[in-house]
């Protein structure tokens, strides 16, 4: 049986990936609200997912305010798809 992707098998990182799966892009503040994570912890996990190429992070200034936008990449989508397949094998679904 295959191993679960350790990068995705973490509550917060999986939550971020699942949120981004259904949207084109999302703001850092929105992800923070939905995951109820602290800004510091969320930043660290987003950085890890970004380094793995699972999500794309865009930083810009909108109306004099900094804004961080995240979106899932094709690599991230494939990784999450594979993760769910392995999960289903574990659970015999």
């Amino acid at each position: 049986m295959k191993e679960l992707d350790p990068l995705l098998h973490s509550q917060l990182r999986l939550a971020i990936m699942s949120l981004l799966l259904s949207v084109e892009e999302a703001d850092f503040v929105w992800i923070k609200e939905k995951t109820e994570a602290t800004a510091g912890n969320l930043s660290v996990q987003i950085e890890k997912l970004s380094e793995a190429g699972y999500i794309a992070v865009r930083k810009e200034i909108i109306g004099k305010k900094p804004r961080t936008t995240c979106s899932i990449t094709e690599k991230g989508r494939t990784a999450l798809d594979e993760y769910v397949k392995v999960l289903k094998e574990y659970l015999h679904i």
Binding site: L4, H9, S10, Q11, L12, R13, L14, A15, S18, L19, L21, S22, V23, E24, E25, A26, D27, V29, W30, K34, T35, E36, A37, N41, V44, Q45, I62, G63, R67, Y83, V84, L87, Y90, L91
Partner: protein, 204 residues
Amino acid sequence: MEAKNFTSKESLELIAHMISETKKGIAAGSGNPFLCYGYTALAISVATFLIPQFGGSWKWNLLWLMMFLPAVILWAKDRKEKPEVVSYIDKMISNTWTVVLELMILSLIVIVFSGLASGVINLQLMLPLALIFVCTGTLITSLTINEGSITGMTCISFAMPVLLLISMVSGDEYLPIWNLAGGLSFLFSLVIPGHILNYKARKS
């Protein structure tokens, strides 16, 4: 929520929960761009209908070029504030309206340049073309968000540009009443849909 590990069952539950969190209704103010374009079109149609009645020149028809004004206003507004989350549906609708605007600009450029070559710039075609593009945009939007009342209303609005084109092909003179007819079509394809969208957004 923390970066801790958890069981396989909890993983699946979390994925399902997070995906359900992304489901949202119509965003507040979704109908505002429709209202912005719609009321501009209505005002222009009434003005271009009334001015010739009081002896004004046909050149007042150039007021229709002000239809591009809401695009500039909305573009400036979008640059200042962006939504927290953009769904695939939001993106699709936004792209649809970008294409509608591009088609209008392209049509105007083609009409002006072909007119420069022939010596006569005939902008009459812009009204039915704009109506067809707008009705198509509204139809795609209503079908995407599954809003049957807007779909039906826009299908009826399609009759007006077709009638205008028939008159033009028949060689009829451009009458001021056509502008009013165009405004009526914009009323059903932009103004009323805009109010319906805002009402639905408030309810959701």
